[in-house]
């Protein structure tokens, strides 16, 4: 279970009070808790599928984010402002990835491949990454970029369509 990493990634603490606080008042931690719980209860015989559907629906309703339960989402996903985020069913998201608002990860059409976002990548607001592409580890994608090709690890891509640029990397 990844819930501890999720809470820490979204700036909370894993003390009992910290977890409660994150669940109640941090929209990102709340959404991820719903997502992880929905996946967790799917295996419960009989009512699992219905419970998962209700939890998923609650997450969609409260956040406006559509994160498929079929997507592979690694531990410690950071959602600073979870609104308008769409993650399609075949997407693979690594550990410690940051997705800002209005990010879309999906395929180019019916039957197309889904993107892979590797560990520690940061996708700023409004990024659309579609097709069977790979966004490398610790890569960054600038706001409103449309990513149609691979982004090498540690590099920065901007623009629509996105191109890799040399930007002096500040420490973070």
């Amino acid at each position: 279970m990844f819930w501890k990493d999720d809470v820490i990634a979204n700036g909370g603490s894993t003390t009992p009070f910290g977890l409660l606080r994150a669940f109640l008042f941090d929209p990102g931690a709340h959404l991820l808790a719903c997502h992880r719980a929905a996946i967790g209860v799917r295996g419960v015989p009989g009512i699992g599928a219905l419970l998962a559907r209700l939890l998923w629906r609650h997450g969609v309703r409260t956040s406006g984010c559509h994160i498929s339960l079929e997507a592979s989402v690694g531990p410690g996903l950071k959602l600073p402002h979870p609104t308008g985020v769409v993650i399609g069913e075949g997407v693979t998201v690594g550990a410690g990835v940051t997705l800002y608002q209005n990010v879309t990860l999906g395929r180019t059409g019916d039957g197309g491949a889904y993107p892979t976002v590797e560990d520690g990548a940061i996708l700023y607001s409004g990024v659309v990454a579609i097709g069977g592409i790979r966004i490398g580890a610790r890569a960054r994608v600038g706001a409103n970029a449309v990513v149609l090709h691979d982004v090498p690890p540690g590099r920065t891509a901007v623009g629509a369509p996105a191109r890799v640029v040399d930007i002096e990397r500040s420490s973070r």
């Binding site: 609104t83 209005n102 409004g126």
Partner: protein, 199 residues
């Protein structure tokens, strides 16, 4: 949450200006029934009321911090948009479709129009600089305004533009990164020029 009764004077008068702008944009008169209708049926006014209420609640003695946090979280879930409590949002704001909007630390002037999926905020968490947006600016859908930039009065930011530099007053900026394409101040049109909207 739509009722401004508990707001302090500043919040209530700002909200009254918001209502005036919505009525002007919807082509309605300022009579009593139109006002009630606009307040009840405009999601954008609910959104603005929630923000002004959150700010006002934060000033309450003792319980202010908790009430502010609870109301802010509820408003995030309700509108799927976030406005930081520290945002200075001028009166007479127009938000026709309050979805997917994220506004962090920023100073926003009077009569600004903000469309859906707009992001405004500081570029870095530790950096002191935040965007300063002038009066009557129109910010198109999906636009992103980041860092210590100044957008002059009456400027227009195109849809999905990413603004990382200053935009002079009255100019139009579009693209990723945004470039100023029209240096001529835009012609005022009916209901478009915020400072002239009834106060």
């Amino acid at each position: 949450m739509t009722e401004p009764v508990e707001m302090d004077r500043a919040g209530a008068s700002s909200f009254a200006r918001d209502i005036d702008v919505f009525l002007a944009r919807q082509g309605r008169s300022r009579d009593w029934t139109s006002t009630v209708r606009a307040v009840v049926f405009s999601p954008g006014l609910h959104f603005l009321a929630a923000h002004r209420l959150v700010v006002a609640a934060g000033r309450l003695p003792v319980v202010g911090r908790v009430v502010k946090m609870v109301l802010w979280t509820l408003s995030c879930h309700l509108f799927r948009s976030e406005i930081a409590v520290s945002t200075v949002l001028g009166a007479g704001c127009y938000v026709p479709h309050p979805y997917g909007i994220v506004i962090g630390r920023a100073v926003i002037g009077e009569g600004v129009q903000i469309l859906q999926n707009v992001t405004i905020g500081a570029a870095r968490r530790d950096d002191g600089g935040c965007p300063v947006i002038g009066a009557g600016v129109v910010i198109g859908a999906g636009a992103v305004i980041l860092g210590e930039v100044e957008v002059g009065d009456g400027a227009v930011i195109g849809a999905n533009a990413v603004v990382v530099g200053d935009v002079p007053a009255g100019c139009t900026a579009v693209g990723v990164p945004a470039k100023v394409i029209d240096r001529s101040p835009r012609r005022p049109s009916v209901g478009d020029d915020a400072p002239s909207i009834p106060t």
